[in-house]
Symmetry: C2
Subunit: 87 residues, 2 copies
């Protein structure tokens, strides 16, 4: 499955959240990671992040797509990250 993860967390937790996200996904831009991972890895990712963030303050959104067949990704300006999962 394709996963797009965007986080909005307190500065002091950014490094940990980013490091954990990068174990499973690729960094594409400030606060955004994406990747093709299986359901098991997605669950592990969420479990790890859940222990890091402050649930009363931080926010992480996961967009998941069973298929990338109906999706497109377009960049305006520079491409900051790498390893796009989109064709």
């Amino acid at each position: 499955m394709l996963v797009i993860m965007v986080y909005d967390v307190e500065v002091k937790r950014v490094a940990k959240v980013l490091k954990t996200g990068r174990k499973y996904l690729y960094w594409v831009q400030n606060s955004v990671l994406e990747g093709n991972i299986n359901e098991g890895s997605f669950k592990k990712l969420k479990a790890e992040l859940s222990r890091i963030i402050d649930h009363e303050y931080d926010s992480i959104i996961f967009y998941t797509f069973r298929t990338s067949k109906y999706s497109e990704r377009e960049i305006m300006g520079i491409e900051k990250g790498g390893e796009s999962q989109f064709l």
Copy 2:
């Protein structure tokens, strides 16, 4: 079409980018907007943003989906924005 827009732009251009994005999409989180718009509005949005950003420095990614049938959206922590386009 469902559009997810994530921006990573120089601080001095954030307000303009956000204001323009909000004309067409809903703010959901720091640097992230989403919405269901038609192709014409999407083109207008891109044209407006194109005049605002520094193409050598800033980056805006648009994920577009012809259908949200195969997608899900999950939030961990707090929900910051509103008006989700996901069921």
